[in-house]
Protein backbone atom coordinates (compact mmCIF):
# COMPACT_ATOMS: atom_id res chain seq x y z
CA UNK A 1 0.00 0.00 0.00
CA UNK A 2 1.35 3.41 -0.93
CA UNK A 3 1.79 6.01 1.72
CA UNK A 4 -1.17 8.40 2.00
CA UNK A 5 0.66 11.45 0.66
CA UNK A 6 1.51 9.80 -2.63
CA UNK A 7 -2.01 8.45 -2.81
CA UNK A 8 -3.38 12.01 -3.08
CA UNK A 9 -4.87 12.92 -6.47
CA UNK A 10 -1.97 13.98 -8.66
CA UNK A 11 -3.67 17.20 -9.75
CA UNK A 12 -4.13 18.54 -6.21
CA UNK A 13 -0.45 18.94 -5.42
CA UNK A 14 0.70 21.22 -8.25
CA UNK A 15 -2.27 23.49 -7.65
CA UNK A 16 -1.51 23.83 -4.00
CA UNK A 17 2.13 24.53 -4.76
CA UNK A 18 1.33 27.24 -7.28
CA UNK A 19 -0.86 29.05 -4.75
CA UNK A 20 1.99 29.07 -2.25
CA UNK A 21 4.52 30.25 -4.79
CA UNK A 22 2.38 33.22 -5.81
CA UNK A 23 2.86 34.85 -2.40
CA UNK A 24 6.27 33.41 -1.75
CA UNK A 25 7.24 36.03 0.82
CA UNK A 26 3.96 36.30 2.73
CA UNK A 27 3.60 34.90 6.23
CA UNK A 28 0.21 34.94 7.96
CA UNK A 29 -0.09 37.45 10.79
CA UNK A 30 3.26 39.13 10.13
CA UNK A 31 1.72 42.30 8.66
CA UNK A 32 -0.61 42.60 11.64
CA UNK A 33 2.33 42.14 14.05
CA UNK A 34 4.31 44.88 12.30
CA UNK A 35 1.39 47.29 12.68
CA UNK A 36 0.96 46.24 16.30
CA UNK A 37 4.64 47.16 16.89
CA UNK A 38 4.15 50.59 15.36
CA UNK A 39 1.02 51.21 17.44
CA UNK A 40 2.80 50.06 20.62
CA UNK A 41 5.78 52.29 19.90
CA UNK A 42 3.79 55.40 19.03
CA UNK A 43 0.45 55.30 20.90
CA UNK A 44 1.84 56.22 24.35
CA UNK A 45 3.85 59.16 22.99
CA UNK A 46 0.90 60.42 20.93
CA UNK A 47 -1.39 60.28 23.98
CA UNK A 48 1.23 62.19 26.00
CA UNK A 49 1.49 64.87 23.30
CA UNK A 50 -2.30 65.14 22.92
CA UNK A 51 -2.87 65.77 26.62
CA UNK A 52 -0.18 68.45 26.74
CA UNK A 53 -2.73 70.53 24.75
CA UNK A 54 -5.63 69.74 27.08
CA UNK A 55 -7.37 72.73 28.60
CA UNK A 56 -8.22 70.78 31.74
CA UNK A 57 -5.81 69.80 34.48
CA UNK A 58 -6.67 66.16 33.78
CA UNK A 59 -4.35 63.94 31.78
CA UNK A 60 -7.30 61.60 31.18
CA UNK A 61 -10.38 63.56 30.09
CA UNK A 62 -10.20 65.75 27.02
CA UNK A 63 -12.10 69.00 27.47
CA UNK A 64 -10.67 71.33 24.85
CA UNK A 65 -7.56 72.67 23.14
CA UNK A 66 -5.28 75.09 24.92
CA UNK A 67 -1.63 76.16 25.07
CA UNK A 68 -1.85 77.09 28.77
CA UNK A 69 0.44 74.30 29.92
CA UNK A 70 3.15 75.41 27.54
CA UNK A 71 2.86 78.97 28.82
CA UNK A 72 3.07 77.64 32.40
CA UNK A 73 6.06 75.48 31.59
CA UNK A 74 7.92 78.34 29.90
CA UNK A 75 7.27 80.64 32.86
CA UNK A 76 8.51 78.04 35.36
CA UNK A 77 11.99 79.05 36.59
CA UNK A 78 12.90 75.47 37.50
CA UNK A 79 12.22 74.32 33.95
CA UNK A 80 14.03 77.27 32.38
CA UNK A 81 17.14 76.72 34.50
CA UNK A 82 17.10 72.99 33.80
CA UNK A 83 16.78 73.61 30.06
CA UNK A 84 19.76 76.00 30.15
CA UNK A 85 21.89 73.48 32.10
CA UNK A 86 20.93 70.75 29.60
CA UNK A 87 21.88 72.87 26.59
CA UNK A 88 25.18 73.98 28.13
CA UNK A 89 26.21 70.39 28.92
CA UNK A 90 25.02 69.05 25.56
CA UNK A 91 26.89 71.74 23.60
CA UNK A 92 30.15 71.15 25.48
CA UNK A 93 29.83 67.36 25.20
CA UNK A 94 29.01 67.63 21.48
CA UNK A 95 32.01 69.81 20.64
CA UNK A 96 34.52 67.75 22.64
CA UNK A 97 33.20 64.33 21.60
CA UNK A 98 32.88 65.25 17.91
CA UNK A 99 36.46 66.56 17.72
CA UNK A 100 37.83 63.51 19.54
CA UNK A 101 35.70 61.14 17.45
CA UNK A 102 36.72 62.77 14.14
CA UNK A 103 40.41 62.46 15.02
CA UNK A 104 39.97 58.85 16.15
CA UNK A 105 38.00 58.00 12.99
CA UNK A 106 40.78 59.46 10.81
CA UNK A 107 43.34 57.40 12.73
CA UNK A 108 41.40 54.15 12.37
CA UNK A 109 40.45 54.46 8.70
CA UNK A 110 43.01 56.64 6.92
CA UNK A 111 46.11 54.66 7.90
CA UNK A 112 47.09 51.05 7.28
CA UNK A 113 45.82 48.34 9.62
CA UNK A 114 47.86 48.38 12.81
CA UNK A 115 48.48 46.14 15.78
CA UNK A 116 46.01 46.88 18.54
CA UNK A 117 43.29 48.18 16.20
CA UNK A 118 40.78 45.78 17.79
CA UNK A 119 41.70 47.09 21.23
CA UNK A 120 41.20 50.69 20.05
CA UNK A 121 37.72 49.83 18.72
CA UNK A 122 36.98 48.09 22.01
CA UNK A 123 37.99 51.13 24.07
CA UNK A 124 36.05 53.59 21.90
CA UNK A 125 32.88 51.47 22.03
CA UNK A 126 33.30 50.59 25.71
CA UNK A 127 30.67 53.09 26.94
CA UNK A 128 28.12 51.27 24.73
CA UNK A 129 28.87 47.81 26.08
CA UNK A 130 28.65 48.34 29.82
CA UNK A 131 25.25 48.79 31.53
CA UNK A 132 24.68 52.50 32.05
CA UNK A 133 24.06 52.12 35.77
CA UNK A 134 27.54 50.58 36.17
CA UNK A 135 29.18 53.46 34.28
CA UNK A 136 27.11 55.86 36.39
CA UNK A 137 28.21 54.59 39.80
CA UNK A 138 31.80 54.04 38.65
CA UNK A 139 32.03 57.64 37.40
CA UNK A 140 30.43 58.82 40.65
CA UNK A 141 33.13 56.96 42.64
CA UNK A 142 35.93 58.53 40.56
CA UNK A 143 34.51 62.03 40.82
CA UNK A 144 33.96 61.68 44.56
CA UNK A 145 37.63 60.75 44.90
CA UNK A 146 38.81 63.64 42.68
CA UNK A 147 36.58 66.09 44.56
CA UNK A 148 37.97 64.93 47.89
CA UNK A 149 41.58 65.27 46.73
CA UNK A 150 41.35 68.54 44.75
CA UNK A 151 38.33 70.20 46.36
CA UNK A 152 37.13 71.23 42.90
CA UNK A 153 33.38 71.28 42.33
CA UNK A 154 31.16 72.44 39.51
CA UNK A 155 29.40 71.48 36.35
CA UNK A 156 32.67 70.46 34.65
CA UNK A 157 32.39 66.90 35.98
CA UNK A 158 29.00 66.42 34.37
CA UNK A 159 30.26 67.90 31.09
CA UNK A 160 33.24 65.54 30.98
CA UNK A 161 31.10 62.50 31.79
CA UNK A 162 28.73 63.41 28.95
CA UNK A 163 31.64 63.96 26.54
CA UNK A 164 32.91 60.45 27.33
CA UNK A 165 29.69 58.54 26.58
CA UNK A 166 28.96 60.69 23.50
CA UNK A 167 32.23 59.69 21.76
CA UNK A 168 31.06 56.30 20.40
CA UNK A 169 27.84 57.86 19.07
CA UNK A 170 29.75 60.63 17.27
CA UNK A 171 32.37 58.13 16.06
CA UNK A 172 29.95 55.75 14.28
CA UNK A 173 28.68 57.97 11.43
CA UNK A 174 32.08 59.68 10.94
CA UNK A 175 33.86 56.34 10.56
CA UNK A 176 31.08 55.08 8.25
CA UNK A 177 31.51 58.18 6.08
CA UNK A 178 35.31 57.80 5.92
CA UNK A 179 35.01 54.15 4.93
CA UNK A 180 32.85 54.98 1.91
CA UNK A 181 35.12 57.86 0.77
CA UNK A 182 37.76 56.78 -1.75
CA UNK A 183 41.29 58.10 -1.44
CA UNK A 184 41.32 59.18 -5.13
CA UNK A 185 40.60 62.87 -4.57
CA UNK A 186 43.09 63.19 -1.73
CA UNK A 187 45.76 61.47 -3.84
CA UNK A 188 44.99 63.76 -6.78
CA UNK A 189 45.45 66.80 -4.54
CA UNK A 190 48.74 65.43 -3.21
CA UNK A 191 49.90 64.72 -6.78
CA UNK A 192 49.24 68.38 -7.56
CA UNK A 193 51.72 69.32 -4.80
CA UNK A 194 49.17 70.28 -2.15
CA UNK A 195 50.84 70.00 1.27
CA UNK A 196 49.19 67.48 3.67
CA UNK A 197 47.48 70.19 5.73
CA UNK A 198 45.91 71.71 2.59
CA UNK A 199 44.79 68.27 1.38
CA UNK A 200 43.09 67.82 4.71
CA UNK A 201 41.40 71.23 4.98
CA UNK A 202 40.47 71.62 1.29
CA UNK A 203 39.60 68.03 0.33
CA UNK A 204 39.14 65.59 3.23
CA UNK A 205 37.28 67.89 5.63
CA UNK A 206 34.64 69.16 3.15
CA UNK A 207 33.96 65.59 1.98
CA UNK A 208 33.75 64.39 5.56
CA UNK A 209 31.45 67.29 6.54
CA UNK A 210 28.11 65.45 6.44
CA UNK A 211 29.56 62.63 8.57
CA UNK A 212 30.79 65.11 11.17
CA UNK A 213 27.42 66.89 11.22
CA UNK A 214 25.64 63.54 11.68
CA UNK A 215 28.02 62.57 14.50
CA UNK A 216 27.57 65.91 16.25
CA UNK A 217 23.78 65.66 16.06
CA UNK A 218 23.75 62.15 17.52
CA UNK A 219 26.06 63.25 20.33
CA UNK A 220 23.80 66.24 21.10
CA UNK A 221 20.64 64.09 21.21
CA UNK A 222 22.29 61.41 23.38
CA UNK A 223 23.61 64.01 25.83
CA UNK A 224 20.27 65.84 25.98
CA UNK A 225 18.40 62.60 26.76
CA UNK A 226 20.70 61.10 29.38
CA UNK A 227 19.10 60.29 32.72
CA UNK A 228 21.00 57.65 34.70
CA UNK A 229 24.58 58.97 34.59
CA UNK A 230 23.40 62.56 35.14
CA UNK A 231 21.14 61.48 38.00
CA UNK A 232 24.00 59.78 39.84
CA UNK A 233 26.67 62.47 39.45
CA UNK A 234 24.81 65.79 39.25
CA UNK A 235 25.43 68.05 42.21
CA UNK A 236 23.03 70.67 43.56
CA UNK A 237 22.06 73.27 40.96
CA UNK A 238 23.05 70.93 38.13
CA UNK A 239 19.54 69.69 37.31
CA UNK A 240 19.12 68.91 33.62
CA UNK A 241 15.72 68.82 31.93
CA UNK A 242 15.30 65.00 32.12
CA UNK A 243 16.24 65.05 35.82
CA UNK A 244 13.72 67.85 36.41
CA UNK A 245 11.06 65.78 34.63
CA UNK A 246 11.88 62.68 36.70
CA UNK A 247 11.52 64.70 39.90
CA UNK A 248 8.24 66.22 38.70
CA UNK A 249 6.80 62.79 37.85
CA UNK A 250 7.66 61.59 41.37
CA UNK A 251 5.84 64.60 42.83
CA UNK A 252 2.67 63.97 40.81
CA UNK A 253 1.45 63.91 37.25
CA UNK A 254 0.47 67.24 35.69
CA UNK A 255 -0.07 68.33 32.07
CA UNK A 256 2.88 70.69 32.59
CA UNK A 257 5.17 67.60 32.52
CA UNK A 258 3.48 66.58 29.28
CA UNK A 259 4.22 70.01 27.82
CA UNK A 260 7.95 69.96 28.74
CA UNK A 261 8.22 66.34 27.58
CA UNK A 262 6.63 67.23 24.25
CA UNK A 263 9.16 70.02 23.73
CA UNK A 264 12.08 67.68 24.48
CA UNK A 265 10.67 64.96 22.20
CA UNK A 266 10.14 67.53 19.45
CA UNK A 267 13.79 68.67 19.66
CA UNK A 268 15.07 65.07 19.42
CA UNK A 269 12.69 64.15 16.58
CA UNK A 270 13.61 67.29 14.58
CA UNK A 271 17.33 66.61 14.97
CA UNK A 272 16.96 62.95 13.99
CA UNK A 273 14.84 63.85 10.96
CA UNK A 274 17.50 66.37 9.89
CA UNK A 275 20.10 63.66 10.37
CA UNK A 276 18.06 61.31 8.18
CA UNK A 277 18.02 63.94 5.42
CA UNK A 278 21.78 64.55 5.76
CA UNK A 279 22.42 60.82 5.44
CA UNK A 280 20.19 60.52 2.38
CA UNK A 281 22.20 63.31 0.76
CA UNK A 282 25.39 61.49 1.70
CA UNK A 283 24.21 58.36 -0.10
CA UNK A 284 23.59 60.24 -3.33
Amino acid sequence: MADPTTAMPASAQPRQRRRLVRDLKAMPGFTATAWLCIVTLYLPILVLIAFSFNENRSVVLWTGFSLDWYAKALENDGIRNAAWVSVKIALFATVISTIAATMAALATTRTKKFAGQGLVYGIINQPLMIPEIVTAIATLSLFALVKKVTGLTGIGYLMLAHAAFCIPFAYMPIRARLETMTLTLEQAAADLYAPPLKVFTLVTLPLLGPGIVAGAMLAFVVSLDDVIITLMIAGPGETTLPIYILGAIRRGITPEINAVSTILVAVSVLLVMLLFLVQRRMQR
Partner: protein, 312 residues
Protein backbone atom coordinates in the same frame (compact mmCIF):
# COMPACT_ATOMS: atom_id res chain seq x y z
CA UNK B 1 77.94 47.91 -4.69
CA UNK B 2 76.70 51.23 -5.94
CA UNK B 3 73.13 49.83 -6.16
CA UNK B 4 72.94 49.16 -2.46
CA UNK B 5 73.19 52.79 -1.38
CA UNK B 6 69.91 54.06 -2.96
CA UNK B 7 68.20 50.88 -1.86
CA UNK B 8 69.02 51.45 1.78
CA UNK B 9 68.06 55.08 1.37
CA UNK B 10 64.70 53.92 0.07
CA UNK B 11 64.31 51.51 2.98
CA UNK B 12 65.16 54.32 5.37
CA UNK B 13 62.62 56.59 3.69
CA UNK B 14 59.92 53.89 3.97
CA UNK B 15 60.86 53.33 7.60
CA UNK B 16 60.69 57.08 8.20
CA UNK B 17 57.26 57.18 6.56
CA UNK B 18 55.98 54.37 8.75
CA UNK B 19 57.26 56.11 11.83
CA UNK B 20 55.54 59.38 10.87
CA UNK B 21 52.32 57.45 10.31
CA UNK B 22 52.58 55.83 13.71
CA UNK B 23 53.20 59.17 15.41
CA UNK B 24 50.32 60.86 13.56
CA UNK B 25 48.01 58.01 14.47
CA UNK B 26 48.97 58.17 18.12
CA UNK B 27 48.24 61.93 18.24
CA UNK B 28 44.90 61.46 16.47
CA UNK B 29 43.80 58.71 18.83
CA UNK B 30 45.02 60.44 21.98
CA UNK B 31 42.02 62.65 22.86
CA UNK B 32 39.31 59.99 22.41
CA UNK B 33 41.28 57.27 24.18
CA UNK B 34 42.35 59.57 27.02
CA UNK B 35 38.79 60.73 27.72
CA UNK B 36 37.33 57.22 27.64
CA UNK B 37 40.17 55.62 29.59
CA UNK B 38 40.07 58.33 32.27
CA UNK B 39 36.30 58.75 32.61
CA UNK B 40 34.90 55.36 31.68
CA UNK B 41 37.52 52.66 32.24
CA UNK B 42 39.62 53.96 35.15
CA UNK B 43 36.41 54.32 37.24
CA UNK B 44 35.73 50.61 36.76
CA UNK B 45 39.06 49.94 38.48
CA UNK B 46 38.03 52.26 41.31
CA UNK B 47 34.75 50.35 41.59
CA UNK B 48 36.69 47.11 42.04
CA UNK B 49 38.75 48.75 44.83
CA UNK B 50 35.65 50.26 46.49
CA UNK B 51 33.90 46.89 46.54
CA UNK B 52 36.59 45.67 48.96
CA UNK B 53 36.32 48.63 51.37
CA UNK B 54 34.11 49.49 54.33
CA UNK B 55 31.15 51.84 53.90
CA UNK B 56 31.55 55.36 55.28
CA UNK B 57 28.94 56.62 57.72
CA UNK B 58 27.65 59.40 55.43
CA UNK B 59 28.14 57.64 52.10
CA UNK B 60 31.47 57.15 50.39
CA UNK B 61 33.99 54.69 51.77
CA UNK B 62 36.38 54.18 54.66
CA UNK B 63 39.77 52.86 53.59
CA UNK B 64 39.63 49.56 55.46
CA UNK B 65 39.86 46.27 53.60
CA UNK B 66 36.76 44.11 53.85
CA UNK B 67 35.05 41.39 51.86
CA UNK B 68 31.75 42.11 53.61
CA UNK B 69 30.14 43.41 50.39
CA UNK B 70 30.45 40.05 48.71
CA UNK B 71 29.49 38.18 51.86
CA UNK B 72 26.47 40.44 52.32
CA UNK B 73 25.29 39.48 48.87
CA UNK B 74 24.58 35.92 50.02
CA UNK B 75 24.52 35.99 53.80
CA UNK B 76 23.26 37.97 56.71
CA UNK B 77 25.39 38.28 59.82
CA UNK B 78 23.49 37.34 62.94
CA UNK B 79 23.54 40.29 65.37
CA UNK B 80 24.00 38.15 68.48
CA UNK B 81 26.45 35.38 67.72
CA UNK B 82 28.01 36.72 64.49
CA UNK B 83 27.20 33.58 62.48
CA UNK B 84 26.32 33.82 58.81
CA UNK B 85 22.79 32.96 57.76
CA UNK B 86 21.86 32.58 54.10
CA UNK B 87 19.92 35.60 52.91
CA UNK B 88 18.02 35.29 49.66
CA UNK B 89 16.96 38.96 49.36
CA UNK B 90 19.69 40.10 46.97
CA UNK B 91 19.94 36.83 45.07
CA UNK B 92 16.21 36.99 44.47
CA UNK B 93 16.51 40.55 43.10
CA UNK B 94 19.12 39.28 40.64
CA UNK B 95 16.99 36.28 39.69
CA UNK B 96 13.91 38.51 39.25
CA UNK B 97 15.90 40.83 37.02
CA UNK B 98 17.23 37.94 34.92
CA UNK B 99 13.70 36.52 34.63
CA UNK B 100 12.19 39.86 33.62
CA UNK B 101 14.97 40.55 31.12
CA UNK B 102 14.61 37.07 29.59
CA UNK B 103 10.83 37.44 29.41
CA UNK B 104 11.15 40.83 27.76
CA UNK B 105 13.70 39.40 25.29
CA UNK B 106 11.28 36.62 24.34
CA UNK B 107 8.39 39.07 24.03
CA UNK B 108 10.46 41.41 21.89
CA UNK B 109 11.51 38.48 19.69
CA UNK B 110 7.90 37.36 19.16
CA UNK B 111 6.93 40.92 18.16
CA UNK B 112 10.19 41.89 16.49
CA UNK B 113 10.88 38.94 14.19
CA UNK B 114 7.64 39.19 12.19
CA UNK B 115 8.09 42.97 12.01
CA UNK B 116 11.65 42.67 10.70
CA UNK B 117 10.52 40.07 8.16
CA UNK B 118 7.62 42.25 7.06
CA UNK B 119 9.96 45.22 6.53
CA UNK B 120 12.57 43.12 4.70
CA UNK B 121 9.96 41.92 2.18
CA UNK B 122 8.74 45.47 1.38
CA UNK B 123 9.92 47.39 -1.72
CA UNK B 124 13.10 49.39 -1.05
CA UNK B 125 11.53 52.85 -0.75
CA UNK B 126 8.92 51.67 1.78
CA UNK B 127 11.61 49.83 3.77
CA UNK B 128 13.40 53.08 4.56
CA UNK B 129 10.19 54.64 5.88
CA UNK B 130 9.46 51.61 8.09
CA UNK B 131 13.03 51.52 9.36
CA UNK B 132 12.84 55.21 10.17
CA UNK B 133 9.60 54.63 12.11
CA UNK B 134 11.20 51.80 14.11
CA UNK B 135 14.41 53.76 14.82
CA UNK B 136 12.82 57.09 15.75
CA UNK B 137 11.60 56.05 19.24
CA UNK B 138 15.14 54.94 20.07
CA UNK B 139 16.31 58.54 19.71
CA UNK B 140 13.55 59.99 21.87
CA UNK B 141 14.08 60.19 25.58
CA UNK B 142 13.60 56.83 27.34
CA UNK B 143 12.38 58.56 30.50
CA UNK B 144 9.67 60.38 28.54
CA UNK B 145 8.66 57.23 26.69
CA UNK B 146 8.36 55.37 29.99
CA UNK B 147 6.33 58.22 31.46
CA UNK B 148 4.06 58.02 28.40
CA UNK B 149 3.61 54.29 29.01
CA UNK B 150 2.81 55.02 32.66
CA UNK B 151 0.08 57.44 31.54
CA UNK B 152 -1.71 54.86 29.41
CA UNK B 153 -1.49 51.80 31.69
CA UNK B 154 -2.55 53.62 34.89
CA UNK B 155 -5.81 52.62 36.56
CA UNK B 156 -7.28 55.84 35.08
CA UNK B 157 -5.25 55.44 31.89
CA UNK B 158 -6.61 55.29 28.38
CA UNK B 159 -6.42 51.47 28.14
CA UNK B 160 -8.58 50.92 31.23
CA UNK B 161 -11.03 53.65 30.20
CA UNK B 162 -11.49 52.14 26.75
CA UNK B 163 -11.86 48.60 28.09
CA UNK B 164 -14.44 49.81 30.63
CA UNK B 165 -16.37 51.81 28.04
CA UNK B 166 -16.44 48.76 25.78
CA UNK B 167 -17.91 46.81 28.70
CA UNK B 168 -15.12 44.21 28.68
CA UNK B 169 -14.18 44.92 32.29
CA UNK B 170 -16.18 46.57 35.07
CA UNK B 171 -13.36 47.78 37.31
CA UNK B 172 -9.90 48.95 36.13
CA UNK B 173 -7.17 46.36 35.66
CA UNK B 174 -4.26 47.05 37.96
CA UNK B 175 -1.22 46.94 35.70
CA UNK B 176 0.92 49.78 37.00
CA UNK B 177 3.40 48.94 39.79
CA UNK B 178 3.33 45.22 38.97
CA UNK B 179 5.80 42.89 37.24
CA UNK B 180 3.53 42.98 34.19
CA UNK B 181 4.05 46.73 33.91
CA UNK B 182 7.84 46.35 34.11
CA UNK B 183 7.69 43.54 31.53
CA UNK B 184 5.58 45.63 29.11
CA UNK B 185 7.84 48.63 29.72
CA UNK B 186 11.02 46.67 28.95
CA UNK B 187 9.62 45.33 25.67
CA UNK B 188 8.43 48.81 24.75
CA UNK B 189 11.83 50.33 25.59
CA UNK B 190 14.06 47.91 23.72
CA UNK B 191 11.90 46.59 20.84
CA UNK B 192 13.84 48.59 18.18
CA UNK B 193 17.06 46.78 19.25
CA UNK B 194 15.42 43.49 18.30
CA UNK B 195 13.96 44.57 14.97
CA UNK B 196 17.06 46.23 13.49
CA UNK B 197 19.63 43.38 13.62
CA UNK B 198 17.05 40.79 12.51
CA UNK B 199 16.15 43.08 9.62
CA UNK B 200 19.84 43.38 8.72
CA UNK B 201 20.18 39.62 8.34
CA UNK B 202 16.79 39.11 6.64
CA UNK B 203 17.48 41.86 4.13
CA UNK B 204 20.21 39.69 2.60
CA UNK B 205 17.93 36.61 2.53
CA UNK B 206 17.94 34.85 -0.84
CA UNK B 207 14.28 34.12 -1.53
CA UNK B 208 15.14 31.42 -4.07
CA UNK B 209 15.92 29.27 -0.99
CA UNK B 210 12.39 29.91 0.26
CA UNK B 211 11.08 28.98 -3.16
CA UNK B 212 13.17 25.81 -3.11
CA UNK B 213 11.60 24.96 0.24
CA UNK B 214 8.09 25.31 -1.18
CA UNK B 215 9.11 23.34 -4.27
CA UNK B 216 10.12 20.51 -1.96
CA UNK B 217 6.57 20.55 -0.52
CA UNK B 218 7.40 22.26 2.75
CA UNK B 219 4.48 24.21 4.22
CA UNK B 220 4.77 27.79 5.48
CA UNK B 221 5.62 26.80 9.04
CA UNK B 222 8.37 24.45 7.87
CA UNK B 223 9.83 27.05 5.51
CA UNK B 224 9.77 29.59 8.34
CA UNK B 225 11.50 27.40 10.92
CA UNK B 226 13.78 25.33 8.67
CA UNK B 227 14.80 27.91 6.07
CA UNK B 228 14.19 31.51 7.19
CA UNK B 229 14.92 31.31 10.93
CA UNK B 230 18.26 29.45 10.53
CA UNK B 231 19.39 31.99 7.93
CA UNK B 232 18.38 34.87 10.20
CA UNK B 233 20.05 33.34 13.26
CA UNK B 234 22.95 35.82 13.55
CA UNK B 235 20.44 38.69 13.58
CA UNK B 236 18.19 36.93 16.07
CA UNK B 237 21.09 36.26 18.44
CA UNK B 238 22.35 39.86 18.13
CA UNK B 239 18.82 41.18 18.76
CA UNK B 240 18.35 38.99 21.83
CA UNK B 241 21.66 40.17 23.31
CA UNK B 242 20.86 43.82 22.56
CA UNK B 243 17.53 43.51 24.40
CA UNK B 244 18.67 41.27 27.25
CA UNK B 245 21.70 43.33 28.35
CA UNK B 246 20.02 46.75 28.72
CA UNK B 247 16.95 44.96 30.10
CA UNK B 248 19.05 43.37 32.83
CA UNK B 249 20.56 46.71 33.87
CA UNK B 250 17.34 48.70 33.44
CA UNK B 251 16.82 51.55 35.89
CA UNK B 252 14.11 53.87 34.59
CA UNK B 253 11.53 51.22 33.71
CA UNK B 254 11.34 49.50 37.14
CA UNK B 255 11.71 52.91 38.85
CA UNK B 256 8.62 54.39 37.17
CA UNK B 257 6.48 51.39 36.21
CA UNK B 258 7.42 49.15 39.14
CA UNK B 259 6.85 52.08 41.50
CA UNK B 260 10.19 51.52 43.24
CA UNK B 261 8.68 48.50 45.01
CA UNK B 262 9.45 45.93 42.34
CA UNK B 263 13.22 46.35 42.39
CA UNK B 264 15.59 45.29 39.66
CA UNK B 265 19.40 45.19 39.89
CA UNK B 266 19.75 48.71 38.48
CA UNK B 267 17.59 50.30 41.18
CA UNK B 268 19.21 48.22 43.90
CA UNK B 269 22.67 49.49 42.86
CA UNK B 270 21.49 53.11 42.64
CA UNK B 271 19.92 52.81 46.10
CA UNK B 272 23.23 51.76 47.67
CA UNK B 273 24.74 55.03 46.42
CA UNK B 274 21.73 57.02 47.63
CA UNK B 275 19.57 56.34 50.65
CA UNK B 276 21.29 53.09 51.74
CA UNK B 277 24.75 54.72 51.80
CA UNK B 278 26.60 51.50 51.21
CA UNK B 279 28.97 52.29 48.35
CA UNK B 280 31.09 49.13 48.71
CA UNK B 281 28.02 46.89 48.47
CA UNK B 282 26.70 48.91 45.51
CA UNK B 283 30.10 48.55 43.81
CA UNK B 284 30.10 44.80 44.40
CA UNK B 285 26.56 44.48 43.00
CA UNK B 286 27.55 46.53 39.94
CA UNK B 287 30.55 44.27 39.35
CA UNK B 288 28.37 41.15 39.66
CA UNK B 289 25.98 42.70 37.09
CA UNK B 290 28.95 43.41 34.80
CA UNK B 291 30.21 39.85 35.24
CA UNK B 292 26.79 38.59 34.12
CA UNK B 293 26.92 40.81 31.03
CA UNK B 294 30.45 39.68 30.17
CA UNK B 295 29.38 36.04 30.66
CA UNK B 296 26.56 36.49 28.14
CA UNK B 297 28.94 38.12 25.63
CA UNK B 298 31.56 35.38 26.12
CA UNK B 299 29.01 32.59 25.64
CA UNK B 300 27.90 34.32 22.47
CA UNK B 301 31.48 34.65 21.20
CA UNK B 302 32.15 30.96 21.95
CA UNK B 303 28.96 29.87 20.20
CA UNK B 304 29.84 32.05 17.19
CA UNK B 305 33.32 30.54 17.00
CA UNK B 306 31.95 27.00 17.23
CA UNK B 307 29.38 27.83 14.53
CA UNK B 308 32.14 29.21 12.30
CA UNK B 309 34.37 26.14 12.75
CA UNK B 310 31.40 23.83 12.03
CA UNK B 311 30.70 25.63 8.80
CA UNK B 312 34.33 25.79 7.80
Amino acid sequence: MSGREPQSALAAAIEQNKRTERVTRAWLLAPALTIILAISILPLGITVVYSFLTPGTYGGVTWEFSTDSYVQFLFQRDIFDDTLVFNSAYVSIFLRSIGLALGATLGALILGFPTAYFIATKPREQRNIWLFLITLPFWTNLLIRTYAMLLIIRDEGIINIMLMKAGIISSPLTILYTDTAVFIGLIYSFLPFMVLPIYASLEKLDFSLVEAGYDLYANRLKVLFHVIVPLAKPGIVAGCILVFIPGLGAYITPELLGGGKKLMIGNMIAMQFGASRNWPFGSAAALILMALVILVLLLNALAARRGASNNG
